[in-house]
Symmetry: C2
Subunit: 346 residues, 2 copies
């Protein structure tokens, strides 16, 4: 996809987290053309050694001065770190692709899902935002449906894995589950709740209107990415005891009539979207099956006969890949393809 | 609630299953007035001894001739057993309160959630049906909302515990979880899928239109109980790795405007419905907390600002109690109260 003569001086901010490690895995898998690699993290990870393409890299402390001679920064270190460091990366001449919520809703920052709205990349001023993982997988089929028949109303209920809350939450799911099964008492850490063998209708903090920040992100970011600022969309975001893979039950009302056949055709022709929908053979996407893979999967597509032009569907994707690291790497590839970087030709 | 001089000759059909055992627990807790008790089950449970009110009862084989001298049968033995045996129970003079799907949609059979539509009990001809557990908890707040402002459209996504699939599924969740955590291979039994650390958008078998039977039950049974045959309602039914307690994410559009305050007041005044909704203190109902209790819990009540007169909410209840055994016992109590049984006065 990327011409090999354009080699990139890359930095990863938050290199040791759930998404940071996925950045490295995906860069390696896609043979992303790197001439130099800086691994940046907070104090507690400094000095750790990380393997990449058969070479050892030492994790360095992320500071304002970390971005000299860097073309692209892939960042996943949380909103406060991004807010502090992104302006310095831009000042040093880098483009930062940021996985945090820090800049997503800023007017001058393109919020991009590769394959859905790459055309806005050309407006970037050094910072490009990656949406929330739940939004990233949602807008792929929504974009396909909007092109087909126009979106009128969208109602989303999510089933989100604990990896969205970080590596510590994954470890804690194991620990809580073991303790629950052996009937030990246990305390809570990463998520302040019993989440083993439970579902929790609460992700991120509550806003004044009763929605969580997670739900507000899905609503606001979907509208921005789809360029439909008045789209009627609502969301209930729920944590489930799954390690990797977010699932979404989505009811979509279209502006114009469409048949299931037309919808399937639109989905099958859309990049990075896999239809997996054979109810007669009990086939539909499941988190446990798709973890570690790239596409957004869609199944259980069926007409909601109780409302005109409306369909139910079930959308599943690896939240660490399409929802985070993979999308960031694809955006980087697209920047190279569209020649939107000052590239150091080695 | 029931006058003690009216003592009931009771039979329990399916006495050793998940719901059968709950029948006994709830009858004991509510001090239901029993003069005799027959425990009926299939061959594999015959001879088992079961404690009730400090006395031992032997499980007998359920046959066509099991219902002599029985006033009420509480049945939870599956649709095929109910279809075969219910007519014999009625012929023998008993009233059967059936937890299976066998008779729910038959025109002459009242489908009842106690507190929601008790008034239809008087039409019974010997068989009274208990709805699907997912429906039972859903129609409680829906009835309250309908009385307040009329229901226009309802969109349901469920998070259903494995106890709905029987005791074997609960045991298998433990087994699958242990094997998953110790990275052993394992086979599937009760539910033909890996359901530990996974969510499965498939409960009961698939119908030709792409819906599952479970989803069709929620749609059809809700319409019947609410006496709204044309209600616009749809459902996506999903299994989650939770032992007991079904959760539901529900979007409700009302016919007329209502404020959140009016809705809270309507819920608080409705029997068996508990509002648990303090987002600022991170309070909302969760399956793991409410298992073993009677009410339907509701929280996360908030306006869907993207559509007129529409609200999101989160409904949680113990599927073995309100969704099955408790509702059946309440119906039996109501039959006594309304004097709708031939009662053997001891």
């Amino acid at each position: 996809m990327v011409q090999q003569e354009h080699k990139i001086r890359l930095a990863i901010l938050g290199a040791t987290g759930n998404v940071g490690r996925k950045f490295l895995e995906i860069l390696e898998q896609r043979n992303f053309p790197i001439s130099s690699l800086k691994l940046l993290a907070s104090e507690k990870s400094v000095g750790k050694m990380v393997q990449f393409q058969g070479k050892e890299y030492k994790v360095e402390l992320a500071t304002k001065n970390s971005f000299k001679d860097v073309d692209i920064v892939l960042a996943s270190a949380g909103a406060s770190v991004s807010k502090e460091l992104a302006p310095h990366a831009v000042k040093a001449g880098a483009v930062i692709i940021d996985n945090s919520s820090a800049f997503r809703m800023e007017q001058n920052v393109p919020l991009v899902v590769a394959g859905v709205n790459d055309h806005v990349l050309k407006k970037h001023k050094g910072i490009i935002a990656n949406p929330n993982c739940t939004t990233a997988q949602l807008v792929v089929p929504l974009k396909a449906l909007h092109k087909l028949a126009g979106l009128k109303r969208v109602i989303v209920s999510t089933y989100q894995s604990v990896s969205g809350a970080g590596k510590s939450a994954m470890d804690e799911l194991t620990e809580q589950s073991k303790n629950h099964l052996s009937e030990n008492n246990y305390s809570f850490k990463a998520i302040n709740r019993k989440f083993a063998f439970n579902v929790i209708p609460h992700i991120d903090t509550f806003l004044e209107d009763g929605y969580t920040k997670e739900e507000a992100k899905v609503i606001n970011e979907s509208r921005k990415i789809l360029e439909l600022p008045d789209l009627s969309i609502t969301c209930t975001a729920v944590r489930v005891p799954v390690y990797i893979g977010h699932s979404e039950s989505v009811n979509v009302e279209l502006n114009h009539p469409a048949t299931k056949e037309q919808i399937l055709k639109a989905f099958k022709g859309f990049p990075d979207l896999e239809v997996f929908d054979e109810p007669s053979e009990s086939k539909y996407p499941m988190a446990i099956d798709i973890a570690g893979t790239d596409p957004v999967y869609i199944g259980r597509i069926r007409e909601d006969k109780s409302n005109p032009n409306t369909f139910n569907m079930w959308i599943v994707a690896d939240n660490l890949r399409i929802g985070a690291a993979l999308n960031a790497v694809r955006i980087a590839e697209e920047l190279l393809k569209q020649n939107l970087l000052k590239i150091s030709v080695v």
